[in-house]
Symmetry: C2
Subunit: 226 residues, 2 copies
């Protein structure tokens, strides 16, 4: 089945990573894949635009079905391959509720991270303000404390939305990995550090680890004072 799938992806993209983790979890190895370069603007190439009018990565196709948004791909794969690989939506309604809640809060988490680490990329030079960047840093700090509290409450060794690994982990783990890659202090955020350690060697995560991180294991220190 994976042979009918094509993923166009870019290195350094948490949304692409989400899709790759989900594919691994559903035992869909062997899909067609192509690593494109954001620097060379290959995400705006005809190859991408033919499938994805937004010219963004991931771009994903399964047979004639096109699903490009990373969250949409996750839901699609879990629904289509429910009984294959790992079950990613728990049966319990209670656990489901928390999974949905955390998944969508995960988008806010991701946005707040980007607003700090990619501030200069998002905002043209003449429109940048120290006050805005400081506000973004404060918002990220508040967000990080919220997630520390969530993990604290769930207890040691828990996944992000309860005892089992779910879609919430699929979509949130890449954000957490990026935090530490960009220098977040595990001393200051011990629960997030513990969560990062819990999942970084999980087979689906390891198999999809960003290749440029393997080549260059040294990260940046952008977030060291956050």
């Amino acid at each position: 089945m994976a042979k009918a799938m094509t993923l166009l992806w870019g290195a350094g993209s948490p949304p692409c990573w989400r899709v790759m983790i989900a594919l691994e979890e559903k035992n869909l190895q062997g899909y067609n894949q192509k690593l494109l370069s954001f620097d060379k603007m290959e995400h705006k190439s005809k190859e991408v635009l033919d499938i994805n009018p937004r010219g963004q990565l991931p771009t994903f196709k399964h047979g004639n079905t096109i699903v490009n948004d990373s969250y949409a791909v996750c839901f699609y794969l879990e629904s289509k391959f429910k009984s294959q690989g790992n079950k990613l939506i728990p049966d319990s309604q209670e656990e489901q509720a928390l999974m949905y809640q955390r998944m969508f809060e995960g988008l806010t988490f991701y946005d707040k991270l980007n607003a700090v680490i990619y501030y200069d990329w998002f905002v043209p030079e003449g429109e940048r303000h120290e006050s805005a960047l400081n506000r973004n840093k404060e918002a990220l700090t508040t967000e990080l404390k919220l997630w520390e509290g969530y993990l604290q409450k769930l207890g040691s060794g828990s996944h992000v939305a309860g005892p089992s690994f779910t879609l919430a982990d699929v979509v949130i783990f890449p954000t957490v990995a990026y935090l530490f890659r960009f220098g977040l202090s595990a001393k200051r955020y011990p629960k997030l550090g513990e969560y990062h350690n819990l999942l970084k060697d999980r087979p689906s995560v390891k198999a999809s680890w960003p290749p440029h991180w393997l080549e260059n294991p040294e990260g940046q220190d952008t977030l060291k004072d956050i």
Copy 2:
């Protein structure tokens, strides 16, 4: 069952409206509800913060289960009350794929709308730039053309992700209604206009129509030149 539910909401909030439409579609009328005022900062009150640490509306509770994000509430209600009221996730995998894709693109659509109509609200006075607002307007125009194209392709009388009303309509219709409330031209965007007309009298939509729009049917003209 609705008696065990509490919704804290604010007028003028598309995310709150999504939840109210979903509750109507699942025949969950009669839930406890309280209209709070953003102007009076009631979304930061203890009543909200006790349930929702983000201090945002909607804030939603069903028994002991707390789900606050509007998309999360939609997924939760559909899963919990699958066979009650209208079915909001189609059986066909093909239709599901398009529904998921459009739902998540709907978040981008909503963000691009907000970046124009609430620019002054989001950006403090000393940090505003005409160039940024113009870029936001261009991005909204591009986004609107994309959705015109999507609706065009699906054909007349279609819902936003295919023949049936789905979760995609629940989450996207409020954005479309806000566009027209803020003066979007149905002449320039005829497919969005048609879609707006298709759904504005649907019982779930009518029952949850923003009360301040009923009191004052006149909208604004912020988007008249978009």
